[in-house]
């Protein structure tokens, strides 16, 4: 039995998982450190991400707000670009909702399916799987790739922040739910999880531009509550949240905000932090050095 388990375990880690990867604008054009560390992490756990060829913006918050038609066709084109048989992995929660809702609508609505097929010249792929990056943790076991995983993050005190990531519109209510996934993963890797009660409060997204005072108030509240609870840093899995938490926090002594993928990659021994951390507005290096997560 033991032997069988061992063999099985090896099998798990040798099987390379392949996904089409939809970066979306936030990751592609401004959250470079998030993309780099995400790709690095996936590679270290034997996952291949192949960027969806010639993908376009999902429409973000703007298309559905002011132009129904554009909001319908932007995600449709992306769906039509996915190679058959390969699941589409999305890291941005907003892109995920746009693409997945459109996909489900086409699946349920014969007229829409016809419109899709006529506009994009391809049969609709009934079996296409569209998943969030978090789904990876249901498909791999970190134990297969790291020894002594509980020692990796050296008790750094992290406050996991999800923003709207776990909130789903009613039509996606019965999709997989990832509550607690950052807590589970990071504590397994030896981080000290600090609950702070504001993990699911929206970061304000574009109000950060159009209504900065409103966003600032909410962001400052999120960061200060995490600090009051004793966190040394916030961790987020969305690069839009990351940006807002950094630029709209009004506190002088704000704590750093790390990307979930940065911590994951570090736990797996990545050494490319020099490419990531200079892009942070609140420098995480002193904290990481203090915790012994970075040397020199």
């Amino acid at each position: 039995m033991k032997k069988f388990l061992k063999k099985n375990k090896n099998n798990r880690s040798s099987e390379r998982l392949r996904f089409s990867f939809f970066p979306g604008c936030a990751l592609k054009v401004s959250g470079h450190e998030s993309t780099l560390s995400l790709l690095k992490f996936c590679d270290s756990v034997n996952i291949e991400l192949k960027e969806l060829e010639d993908w376009n913006c999902c429409g973000s918050s703007s298309a559905h707000s002011i132009d129904h038609n554009v909001a319908k066709h932007l995600p449709m084109r992306n769906i039509s670009l996915v190679p058959k048989g390969i699941p589409l992995l999305i890291a941005c929660p907003s892109c995920l909702i746009r693409l997945k809702s459109t996909y489900l609508k086409i699946k349920e609505d014969e007229n829409l399916r016809q419109e899709y097929e006529e506009a994009w010249g391809k049969p609709f792929d009934e079996d296409l799987e569209i998943i969030h990056f978090f789904e990876i943790f249901n498909r791999i076991r970190l134990e297969d790739y790291i020894n002594h995983l509980e020692e990796k993050l050296k008790k750094i005190k992290v406050a996991p922040y999800y923003g709207c990531m776990l909130s789903m519109p009613p039509n996606l209510r019965f999709e997989n739910n990832y509550s607690g996934i950052m807590e589970k993963t990071l504590s397994k890797l030896g981080a000290d999880i600090i609950p702070f009660g504001y993990a699911n409060m929206c970061c304000g997204t574009y109000l950060s531009v159009a209504k900065p005072q409103l966003a600032q108030k909410v962001v400052t509240q999120i960061v200060s509550k995490a600090m009051e609870a004793g966190a040394e840093c916030l961790v987020t899995a969305c690069s839009m949240c990351h940006l807002n938490l950094e630029i709209r926090c009004a506190l002088e002594n704000s704590i750093p905000v790390l990307h979930f993928s940065e911590l994951l990659s570090m736990a797996l021994g990545a050494e490319d932090q020099k490419k990531w951390f200079p892009r942070h507005i609140v420098d995480p290096v002193p904290l990481l050095k203090k915790r012994g997560l970075l040397v020199s």
């Binding site: 376009n56 918050s61 707000s65 002011i66 554009v70 923003g163 909130s167 109000l207 892009r279």
Partner: protein, 178 residues
């Protein structure tokens, strides 16, 4: 007391048809209002907006700030006991407000959305720097956030050149398709 004629149904029916959402099952339990972090910037709570529509108070509903402040991130709809897609109702109202040419309560938000879609139309992807510059230009506001903008450029959070879709025709088609 509000005296309602029969006409008040019309507006509600229109919004129901446009958004595809049956908001008449709303219990007015205010779960949506209590969970919304941006309610401070709204003149009517989300459930009150639904009420305005139910009562046929078209002008008030279309000219309220709430429909523009709502960022549509589903905190409300995730917890709504009646599973009402509140952001989709807001979308319906925003479209109607534009269509009817009423006074837009939050022009900055509309301006932002327009600039985002302008860059998507041009490049197939958003281009933050251009969105910000044009947004500020329209608003004639160059001073606020100037320091922040420079900091973001320095930290390379704002790419100078846009990332583009190769198949320009496809993007043109999306913006023409009706």
């Amino acid at each position: 007391m509000i005296n309602l004629g029969n006409e008040h149904h019309e507006f509600a029916d229109e919004i129901k048809a446009d958004s595809g959402i049956n908001f008449n099952v709303c219990l007015h339990c205010k779960t949506c209002a209590n969970g919304c972090p941006f309610i401070e910037g709204m003149d009517y709570a989300p459930n009150a907006v639904i009420r305005l529509v139910q009562l046929g108070l078209e002008d008030v509903a279309l000219e309220c700030s709430s429909i523009w402040i709502c960022v549509g991130y589903n905190t409300c709809s995730s917890y709504c006991p009646m599973a009402i897609d509140i952001p989709a109702v807001m979308d319906g109202l925003r479209h109607k407000a534009i269509e009817k040419g009423v006074k837009i309560a939050e022009p900055d938000v509309l301006n932002f959305h327009t600039e985002v879609l302008n860059t998507v139309k041009k490049y197939g992807r958003t281009h933050k720097l251009e969105i910000m510059m044009r947004y500020k230009l329209k608003k004639m506001d160059f001073l606020s956030d100037m320091g922040l903008g420079l900091k973001m450029l320095k930290k390379r959070k704002l790419d100078l050149t846009p990332s583009k879709v190769q198949d320009k025709k496809a993007i043109e088609k999306i913006f023409k398709e009706k």
